[in-house]
């Protein structure tokens, strides 16, 4: 390998055959380049008449942003095959980089395109990537690597394999639609929205468009477009209600009943919102014996009300 200064315009940046990382230079990275330039050499290899970048995409992008024209480069012997060269890029990053699922999918795609067999990929590469070493995982990753539009979101929000797998079950046009809705949300919210949409679609045997055209959801999406941050929570709440109508309805009835009690402010009445447990919990916040006596008396007085009976009936209710 030869260490030398290379002109950035010597590199054919259109040739991205070895790229599998998705990160771009952030502000801190750019500040560092401005202060001390690029110190760590990028790796390059000669292919035909030009140089191809093997690793160091972030450094090159940073250097260009900072107006640098050259940077240190380590030239790899050109007799190395693409597979050997990519393995070099991969393992160099592997030692100090926590790959996202999007990056893992691209790495697997590159290994596969450069000729690494399925058995090797499954038994050697997938365990390194901390993924289940199965052919199914490999198939999911290869499919994922083809979703160019979706990869930035999958990378930025650090999606996990089950989320991606469910996402792949939507047809391409619905994936695009869904990404346009959820791209700015946290992974947890994205995951839950994808799950809820999937469930509704299958349960109601409708397409995604028909579901999001429902008035309640459509109005929520309007707010989305206006960048109202609470719209995501509202959407989640609408979807949860649609997916869990029975529990939701009963909880609403129970809440309404509890609201009727007008218990003292230092008393909180609560219950298990999955309705798995049929008991109530009563939290009493007091700081003296006298206050406790007074509060307990108020609670005892309230026991005369019919609401308590109705409340327990609701908690024990059988679906009709």
């Amino acid at each position: 390998m030869i260490l030398r200064k290379i002109q950035i315009n010597e590199i054919n940046l259109e040739d991205r055959r070895f790229r599998f990382t998705c990160g771009h230079p952030d502000e801190k990275f750019l500040r560092s380049i401005k202060e001390i330039s690029v110190v760590e050499p990028v790796k390059i290899i000669k292919r035909k008449a030009s140089l191809v970048l093997v690793s160091g995409w972030k450094r090159v992008e940073g250097a260009i942003s900072c107006g640098l024209e050259e940077l240190p480069g380590l030239e790899i012997p050109e007799n190395l095959s693409d597979l050997e060269t990519f393995a070099l890029a991969f393992y160099e990053n592997y030692s100090h980089h926590q790959f996202s699922l999007a990056e893992k999918s691209l790495a697997v795609r590159r290994f596969s395109d450069f000729g690494l067999g399925q058995t090797e990929l499954i038994s050697r590469i997938l365990p390194i990537l901390e993924l289940p070493p199965t052919r199914h995982t490999l198939e999911v990753l290869l499919e994922l690597s083809d979703l160019e539009e979706s990869l930035p979101v999958i990378h930025n929000k650090d999606w996990k394999l089950p989320t991606a797998e469910l996402f792949l079950r939507f047809p391409p046009e619905e994936r695009r639609l869904m990404l346009s809705l959820v791209s700015d949300l946290s992974h947890n919210k994205q995951r839950e929205i994808i799950e809820l949409f999937y469930s509704l679609k299958k349960r109601q045997n409708r397409n995604l468009k028909a579901i999001i055209d429902e008035p309640a959801i459509a109005s929520c999406l309007e707010r989305f477009k206006k960048n109202k941050p609470e719209a995501a929570d509202k959407l989640l709440s609408i979807l949860r209600k649609e997916v869990s109508p029975l529990v939701h309805r009963l909880c609403e009835e129970i809440d309404r009943e509890i609201g009727q009690f007008k218990l003292p402010n230092n008393v909180r009445l609560d219950y298990d919102r999955t309705l798995e447990k049929s008991n109530l919990t009563l939290e009493v916040m007091v700081s003296s014996q006298e206050e406790l006596r007074e509060t307990v008396n108020k609670i005892l007085n309230s026991l005369e009300k019919e609401n308590w009976k109705r409340l327990f009936e609701l908690l024990y209710r059988e679906e009709e």
Partner: protein, 363 residues
Amino acid sequence: MMTRNWIKKVFLDRKVEKSPQVKKILDKLIGVPVEVVDGEEKIKLELRLSSDSVGESKKILFLTEQKAFIRPCPCTPGCVGCGYWTIDLDINCPLDCSYCILQRYLEEQPLTVSVNREALKNELELFFEQKRTRLLRIGTGELGDSLALDELTENSLFLVELFRKKPSYFLELKTKTAEIELLLKIRPEPNIVLAWSLNTEKMVHSEERGAASLEDRLTAATRAVNHGYRVAFHFDPIIHYPGWLEGYERVVEKLFGRIPVEAIAWVSLGTLRFPSDLLTVARRRFPESTIYEHEFVRSWEGKFRYPRPLRIKIYSELRRMFSDFRAENKLYLCMESSAVWAAFLEKNKRGRLISAFPFPWLS
């Protein structure tokens, strides 16, 4: 069912190569390739290379030995147990039900048959010695179907012999097949219970790939009763879908149209439940199935279940159906919370809660 036609390959653990039981099994699998291995690793690797490792695992037979066979049924934390014990003689199942938890538990486990029967015999003798004080139920249907591989292994015959003259130990052979020919050739005992999992015809057809039809199961149960066996039934998982009530009503009517109440040892009820990681596997393997797209709650132990008010409704309807045939006292719930048991027993007016053995009618 002709399991032997399904099996693509046999892996033989070198440790049991010389076992007479192995020879008997292989004699029934003429033409199926056999490879001797030193452990499971090679088989697991082969399964991992398949797009559907679960489906593939059901076509590969692994003959091996096992150190221990008997364990208490783990039930589920926070549920009312029924004091059941299991014998893990066959692990994994050639049937392919969309709701089966083994898809997750045994993802890379071939159809594994342990052939060291002497060890099981010794372990059972010790078990009988140690558990003398009460009636006890034990079965082989926890990690596989008790009879699906029986034409190959003849394990049912071996087990029945071990349970003869042990009247307080009930051996349950639980199945979704109609494979009882071998058992019809031997003398039954009151403590040998042949059990069938039952579901509505719609669910059998759409969710229980490879299993016998409802009609065939009931015919097999009828033959078993006519031969003198006690039988049991498991409505598990009960699946809630449009038309479920009529569906289960028809099953119960058919059941009692053919089986006398007195021949029934017990009937369990359990609604669909599953851990979250089964969802990914099942949705992938059964894309047409809609049973996972229902309203569920994440219950105390992390499993998805139908909401409690719905479960209570389902159990109460099933209880009503059984009471029409004066058979409600044969019912118990499988893996249910004490809250649901309490609601169930309130209507049943019988039994104790948190009972380790809720089957007083067997005593």
